[in-house]
Amino acid sequence: MGLTESEGGAGTEVSTMSPNWVTTRLDFLTNWARANSLWPMPFGTACCAIEFMASAASRFDLSRFGMERMSFSPRQADVLICAGRLPFKLAPVIRKIWDQMPQPKWAISMGACASSGGIFDTYTMVQGIDTIIPVDVYVPGCPPRPEGLIYGIMLLQKKIKGESITDDALRQEHLVGPDGLFLPARKIDEVSEPFGNSVHQTRSA
């Protein structure tokens, strides 16, 4: 399970490589290469996918960020961009796609629905894909403007450039736990609580 601090991670494991000048130079090279050649796995489900396509087209052009090749095979992708709402029926699919992506991998949650369930606080929709997979960048919007998505991608590039090969916790796989969940149950319920106008939609019949 991924996002809790109680899990053993960078704090408890002894890194086999201590940082030094050589590793920082390797970091610079590796991160530069990774950040500038992110091959996206476009997991486009709904309206945000249209804006993603617009971002990739000529006016806004994701190709200048190295994202020219959309790989629809997760085995050859670096970043999963979940563009659109995710129904519970599709949850095992995105989990499987995420598991099939090899490290290093990152995830961008594009749009309100992928980040929090958006306007769909219903029985069908996952309330944020971070309850299913670990997310690095959340891009708000319904849908986000292409400039907004590009800003999110640039934030991810900045995050990648701050990584280090001596940090073992970074490239760990966070699988679905033995209880069948990725996040602890309490945390899923906590982040899925209704907010805004949804708090009034508690009646039935």
């Binding site: 219903t122 029985y123 069908t124 679905v176 069948g180 019949a205």
Partner: protein
């Protein structure tokens, strides 16, 4: 009511007391039929040379906010030649079991339409060849979502819904019909054939 469909008079002449009442709403004629004879009425509407409602536009159901009102099952009919519409409704008492006859033998399109009504309202269609859920996953256990006593967010907690969604294995439910590769069955590898041989319920077909 000058825009009553002429089918109403023909129906009353043919079926008499099975036709409860009729009304016109926004230019559409609605005929209320007794549940016991609805299959005969719909068959006559399809086959009679003067009616020829050969296209089943939709099957749906209505549950009103007023709990006193019965649950209605609605068939929307269209005659391609005559360019005429008709809406046929059956009222089902909510205290009794919700069941009507399937019209799959009349219109093949009723297959998925009736599955949707079953999935969302819990109405059983007698004589349907394969009545199972279509929008929700097949092992969905929270109930029938479009009923008025079903809360918007579902009955289970978000964590439980996420757990059940992640536990679902969509690949285990492929049947020979859905994959449409029955012709190539013999050329498939043995393990795929084994997997396909297990039908929807997990038993060997």
């Amino acid at each position: 009511m000058t825009d009553v469909s002429p089918s109403v008079a023909a129906l009353r002449a043919k079926f008499g007391s099975a036709i409860a009442r009729h009304m016109v709403s926004c230019g559409d004629t609605i005929v209320y039929v007794s549940a016991a004879r609805c299959h005969d009425v719909l068959a006559w509407l399809k086959d009679d040379p003067g009616q020829r409602f050969d296209y089943l536009t939709d099957i749906t159901a209505v549950e009103y906010r007023d709990p006193e009102r019965p649950l209605e099952v609605v068939w929307q009919l269209w005659s391609i030649d005559r360019k005429a519409t008709l809406r046929v409704k059956v009222e089902l008492d909510k205290a009794a079991a919700l069941a009507v006859d399937s019209v799959f033998d009349l219109w093949k399109g009723a297959d998925w339409l009736e599955r949707e009504v079953y999935d969302m309202f819990g109405v059983t269609f007698n004589g349907h060849p394969d009545l199972r859920r279509i929008l929700m996953w097949e092992t969905y256990a929270e109930g029938y979502p479009l009923r008025k006593d079903f809360p918007l967010r579902g009955h289970f907690s978000r964590a439980e819904q996420t757990r059940q969604a992640l536990a679902a294995n969509p690949e285990s439910h492929y049947s020979l019909e859905e994959l449409s590769i029955a012709a190539a069955y013999d050329e498939l590898p043995a393990d795929v054939r084994e997997r396909l041989a297990h039908g929807e319920r997990g038993g060997v077909k």
